[in-house]
């Protein structure tokens, strides 16, 4: 009997092990294989459809054409960097020559005047979106917390938020542009007007989801926690620090994720419309150029825009894990 049970139990264990291995394999395949298959099918479908779409600029670009353009964009970037280096060298020489002739001359180094490469545009877009988003966060989170704590403030501000939240960036942009050019006047500006324009448009559009989510997060804190705070007679600041913030972090981050998604989408549209430097301008310029490579280059930009959007979202998630370490 004993041996029988042991055999049975061995079998069970064996089966269990097998099942576990199978589970791991299916899990792995879910993690790697399925997305891989999905992407492969997408690429095939893309190639097939692209081949059958004939535009006045030639065939719609397939994956191969896009990869080719990535290579082109990279080599253009390298070439431009070399030109920039030569530019700085010529400038040094010219400055030296002039100082030799004209001792009063205060030589200065000017930035490279050549074109912005694709890589530069990506960096510009990232800087703009992060500045606009941070500005929005600086406004939205304190305001949201305050609103969550005070019912009357919430009642007062809520209608305004609800009305402004669905406004498209394209509607804000002309207003922002005019106001910025009227107010931001300086003979030697630190940052360019176009940067301020894009940044403020991003802020205006991405501030709302953060306010709303923060306010909801704060107002729905467990009443037990609030009672604890009351019993301990925590000061307002400590109350916010020790009770409100930790408890509402998940909601704040949900708002931030939503906002950053909006910010990234808005930025591309704003850059396109206002001709502000960045990926949006890159897309618009290529559309205007109407060369046979234009569509492939735009598609390359689309892929990059999507990828960066995804990375930004992951970035916020990672930040959330890092901030709420205690959970």
């Amino acid at each position: 009997m004993n041996s029988l049970t042991s055999i049975a139990s061995n079998r069970l264990i064996e089966q269990g092990r097998k099942a576990a291995v199978m589970l791991k394999i299916t899990e792995l395949s879910k993690l790697i294989l399925l997305p891989f298959i999905g992407i492969a099918i997408f690429l095939v479908m893309w190639t097939v459809t692209a081949n059958s779409i004939e535009t006045s600029l030639g065939k719609f670009p397939g994956p191969v054409a896009v990869v080719e353009q990535f290579e082109n964009l990279y080599s253009e970037h390298v070439a431009e960097r070399e030109k920039a280096q030569a530019f700085y060298q010529r400038q040094d020489e010219r400055n030296a020559a002039r100082t030799a002739n004209d001792p009063n001359y205060v030589a200065k180094i000017r930035g490279y005047t050549g074109k912005e490469t694709f890589w530069d545009q990506i960096i510009t877009s990232l800087i703009t979106v992060m500045s606009g988003f941070l500005l929005a966060a600086i406004i939205a989170i304190p305001l949201g917390i305050w609103m969550g704590l005070s019912r009357s403030l919430q009642a007062a501000i809520n209608p305004i938020i609800q009305i402004f939240k669905p406004v498209s960036p394209l509607a804000w942009l002309p207003l922002v542009t005019m106001v910025v050019s009227a107010v931001y006047v300086s003979p030697d500006p630190i940052v360019s007007k176009s940067f301020i324009n894009s940044m403020l448009t991003v802020t205006l559009c991405s501030v709302w989801p953060m306010i709303i989510n923060t306010a909801i997060g704060v107002s729905s804190i467990d009443s037990d926690l609030i009672n604890v705070s009351k019993v301990l007679r925590l000061s307002a600041i400590t109350h916010v620090q020790k009770i409100v913030l930790p408890a509402s972090i998940p909601m704040i981050f949900t708002g931030m994720r939503l906002s950053l998604g909006v910010a990234w989408m808005v930025l591309i549209a704003a850059e396109m419309l206002a001709q502000n430097p960045g990926l949006g301008k890159f897309v618009w310029d290529e559309f205007q150029n109407g060369s046979s490579d234009s569509l492939a280059r735009i598609m390359a930009a689309v892929v990059v825009i999507g990828f960066i959007g995804f990375l930004l979202d992951r970035g916020i998630l990672a930040l959330q894990h890092w901030v709420s370490w205690d959970k």
Partner: protein, 462 residues
């Protein structure tokens, strides 16, 4: 200069430095004459058209840098944005339609005192119609022995098509790039010469559509969007600069029927516009940028257009015009393709320097003013003197002459390449070579205005 970057810089640099100091001592007399630029960092705007070439070439060939100017060049969305940029100081100067500085100075549209020390090119535009319209025009056009139509094609052959549209109750729409653009006046000139009324403006009544009494309705479309607007069927034809006519041929969506060279041989096209304030505040900078542009224009026409392929390569970069090499080359290298396969030699389709193309003639400015009066943009009669005064306010051959003289003194360009500045009056001899065979004398604008069959004449008021 690319090779310098790759070579061992530490060794080369001091060497080059010594050389450049030596060089600057050699040319110091000229520097003393013109003086260092007061403003060194400049931003210029342009519209994606091949005739922006002098700016791109002055940059790429280092002519701006040799003047001590650090110029960045930025494409603009449309002519209005560009003009506003120059007026509000976002741009220091720009590639402009010849009519823009004039209109701005007399206050048609945005009022601002814009001047031009440099005329950028001659010719370079064409009128394109959609395939449908072309098919309907063709039976009315005489054919050559090889089966292709006889050029120049007059709007007489378009008239039956416009009448057909009218009979069917459909509007005949055409695109041009800006109300005071060369293209607007050329398109109007061509249509009116063929008996098609392009419509009047009446700004004093608040009507700036330019469609009063019109048989063909003209509206504004930015140059790079012309082909796609034609393709969408919103317009039936357009007048625009290159490469957007050749683009229509390549895309197979339309047929260029006439170039502006055939409408008015060697007509002045774009100019380089800056504000009067800029020229006053930064006189040396103004002369220096004019010098660089003159050198670039000369380079473009040197060796009998021999540098053009290189220029086309530069222009096809995405930050300049950005269209395909072949499309830009089609018109820039002295040919022009009308119907697909009908490629003809038009060596003067784009003129940047020869025929004194860069000299800002008063008579050119006055021609634009006469057309503004003809179509009602200038709502009332003005004296011949008024026309000349306005021209002298906007066109500044004095600045051009200073820049050219310094180039002659520096032995960079021979004096023979320029008009004789001691005798030049700024008025071209009466010009013929118009598609309707009229003669234009810049000294008598009112007489010229009265000579048109279609158009406002002296004493007319809408």
């Amino acid at each position: 200069m690319n090779w310098t970057a790759t070579l061992a810089q530490q060794i080369i640099r001091p060497l080059l430095l010594g050389m450049s100091i030596g060089a600057s001592i050699c040319i110091s007399p000229a520097l003393a004459e013109v003086g260092y630029p007061e403003k060194e960092e400049l931003k210029f705007g342009f519209i994606k058209l091949t005739d922006m070439a002098p700016i791109a070439i002055a940059y790429e060939k280092g002519y701006f840098e040799e003047e001590g100017l650090y110029v960045s060049i930025e494409a603009q969305a449309n002519w209005k944005v560009l003009l506003d940029g120059v007026i509000d100081g976002r741009l220091d100067g720009a590639h402009m339609l010849a009519g823009q500085p004039i209109a701005a100075t007399i206050g048609y549209g945005t009022k601002a005192h814009i001047i031009t020390p440099f005329s950028m090119d001659l010719n370079g535009n064409a009128i394109t119609v959609s395939n449908d319209v072309w098919a309907k025009m063709k039976p009315h056009i005489a054919k050559q022995a090889d089966g292709f139509p006889v050029h120049p094609i007059k709007a007489d052959s378009l008239k039956p098509v416009v009448d057909e549209f009218k009979a069917a109750g459909k509007p005949f729409n055409m695109g041009m790039v800006f109300p005071v653009s060369t293209h607007n006046y050329e398109l109007r000139y061509w249509l009116a010469a063929g008996g098609i009324h392009p419509g009047f403006y009446a700004p004093h009544k608040g009507d700036t559509s330019g469609q009063i009494d019109a048989q063909a309705l003209l509206s504004v479309t930015p140059p790079p969007q012309m082909p796609s607007t034609l393709e969408a069927g919103t317009i039936n034809g357009y007048c625009v600069g290159e490469p957007w006519n050749q683009q229509a041929v390549f895309k197979g969506i339309g047929v260029p029927v006439v170039t502006d060279y055939e409408i008015w041989k060697d007509n002045p096209e774009k100019v380089f516009g800056i504000t009067a304030e800029f020229a006053e505040k930064y006189p040396n900078t103004t002369i220096r940028l004019t010098r660089a542009l003159i050198r670039a224009a000369k380079w473009l026409d040197d060796n009998n257009n021999g540098n053009r392929p290189e220029a086309v390569k530069i222009l096809s970069q995405s930050n300049y015009v950005g269209a395909d090499y072949e499309v830009i080359a089609n018109s820039m290298t002295g040919t022009f393709e009308y119907e697909k396969g009908d490629k003809r030699a038009v060596p003067d389709f784009n003129v940047f320097f020869r025929h004194n193309a860069t000299y800002p003639y008063y008579s050119d400015a006055i021609w634009y003013l006469t057309q503004m009066r003809r179509w009602g943009q200038i709502e009332q009669d003005q004296s011949d003197e008024w026309y000349k005064d306005v021209a002298a306010k906007v066109y500044r051959p004095d600045i051009y002459a200073k820049a050219a003289q310094s180039l002659i003194d520096d032995k960079l360009i021979p004096a023979t390449a320029f008009p004789d500045f001691s005798k030049e009056t700024g008025f071209k001899a009466p010009q013929t070579h118009f598609i309707d065979n009229l003669t234009y004398d810049g000294n008598q604008p009112n007489a010229y205005i009265n000579s048109f069959v279609i158009g406002l004449k002296q004493g007319d008021k809408l």
